[in-house]
Symmetry: C2
Subunit: 194 residues, 2 copies
Amino acid sequence: MSHSFAVLEKPRLVNGLDVDAAVATIAAIKADKNLARFEFRASNTWINGGENRSVIRDFYGAGREDTSRSEAFAFTNGEPPVLLGNNEGANPVEFLLHALAGCVTTTFVLHAMARGIAIRELSTELAGDIDLQGLLGLDDSVAAGYEQIRIKMHVTADCPDAELDDLLAYAQHHSPVCNTVCRPVPVMIERSKD
Amino acid sequence: MSHSFAVLEKPRLVNGLDVDAAVATIAAIKADKNLARFEFRASNTWINGGENRSVIRDFYGAGREDTSRSEAFAFTNGEPPVLLGNNEGANPVEFLLHALAGCVTTTFVLHAMARGIAIRELSTELAGDIDLQGLLGLDDSVAAGYEQIRIKMHVTADCPDAELDDLLAYAQHHSPVCNTVCRPVPVMIERSKD
């Protein structure tokens, strides 16, 4: 026998993702759609000026509260001097680009795995335009948010270019962050009275 | 003379923001609207599976390339085990909540400053719902992104509650990230052919 149990127990990975775990997840969701319902959360505290800090740990998904994180993640928003800060951190609109880049990338890699395509390299460059007259309330005809966001992706993989283009279009339409940006998503804000 | 130059040169701060710098910025933008045009950027590299890393440093704004950051910020996206990762970092949809929390907070604090309102404490709790059937492509009628995002803000300040409610509605409509989420924003993705 040339096989050891250690070898047999190794997960089958494509693009670093466990194929059998993915197949099991899909089967479980098809049997019970409620397992696909997730609630993600963040708590943020203002520090001073344009500086504030978020703590992220718990979420609900796959039918239960997640307990996999022994410690919380923490991230600091700041602003550069031209926006009245001291570069205490990246600013919120930059963090949005980080979220978008990561989500398009992970969605691309996930669906490449589903198609049996091995990615060799993948990187993205993002740029987004904002007219700050919107934020400042100087011109009501100017939207406060991004006017548009451009993503340039560099990717090499063991498949034809046409398949990469098809995957990219698929990732664009199935990425949760990209879909949240492209589509109007309601944000409800309530002031706690306590 | 009881004043020293040191005292005279101190910036006039409300909520940690330099009021005179803000007034000068507004005046400059009113004189030349192009100064309000900003381009923010991020570069992201896939590492493995659901792990990827963004680097954020340069941006264009106020009529020039910014040079205030001697080092880049770097942030790692990851996924929890239930989403086939190892908690290498918060995941992209969680980073989006961090961006949203920070932006609503900074917009609130900025416009409070403009109204002469001193904020004592401000914190937010965010929660957003996603049905992962969208990401997975299991049901085309399910959107891939957030269905809705809820923000609960706790704030104390030296003004009546009605003014806080007015400020909150104002911040919701003038926050760049909130506006990017609430409104459909075009995302153009192109594959680099080189």
